[in-house]
Amino acid sequence: MTEKATKPGVRTARVRMGGTGVYTPPPPTPEPKTETEKEKDDGQRPKD
């Protein structure tokens, strides 16, 4: 916090505010499937 200026030589009380935190990145976006993977998936579909 900013210490407000007063007369020279006068000490001002200083509030403190803060701490620590954690940043967690977003989950990775799945890459688009290749044509080969799509064909493979199609072949695994159960038949009616």
Partner: protein, 137 residues
């Protein structure tokens, strides 16, 4: 002799309780990038063109009771990054009250520190510790 006022622990606790009681109904902890006009000189200064990266709604109450001049956050303070960037300062606001502090890489030099300050859209910011304190000597 130069001026050198001091208060004891009990009086510091009274003071810090008065500060954090303003957040008994909750508040908002907002992280800003240091772009544009940069870090405001005071907590009274208006936010102008600084980007908001993340805004966390703090619970009611936001702080526990003070002890030895220190009040620690209560409950979970967490929110999503709404704009990627590097935070430079925060504002803790309730109604017309505002506190402000610097934000940066953990090195013991900023008010609120993180191990990572390159924030991406969709990430999550969680406050581990957050204290409000008055000097007691």
């Amino acid at each position: 002799m130069a001026n050198d006022p001091k208060i004891d622990y009990d009086w510091a606790t009274v003071g810090v309780d008065a500060l954090v009681d303003e957040l008994d109904g909750g508040g908002t902890l907002t992280f800003y990038e240091g772009n544009g006009d940069g870090i405001p000189a005071t907590a009274d200064a208006a936010i102008t063109d600084q980007n908001v990266l993340c805004a966390i709604t703090t619970p009611a109450p936001s702080f526990g009771a003070g002890a030895n001049g220190v009040a620690a956050k209560a409950g979970v303070w967490s929110g999503a990054v709404i704009l990627g960037g590097e935070p430079a300062f925060f504002r803790l606001v309730t109604g017309t009250r505002a506190g402000q502090g610097t934000v940066g890489l953990a090195a013991g030099t900023f008010d609120l520190e993180f191990a990572t300050v390159t924030w991406l859209l969709g990430g999550t910011v969680t406050i581990s510790t957050f204290n409000t304190s008055l000097p007691r000597e």
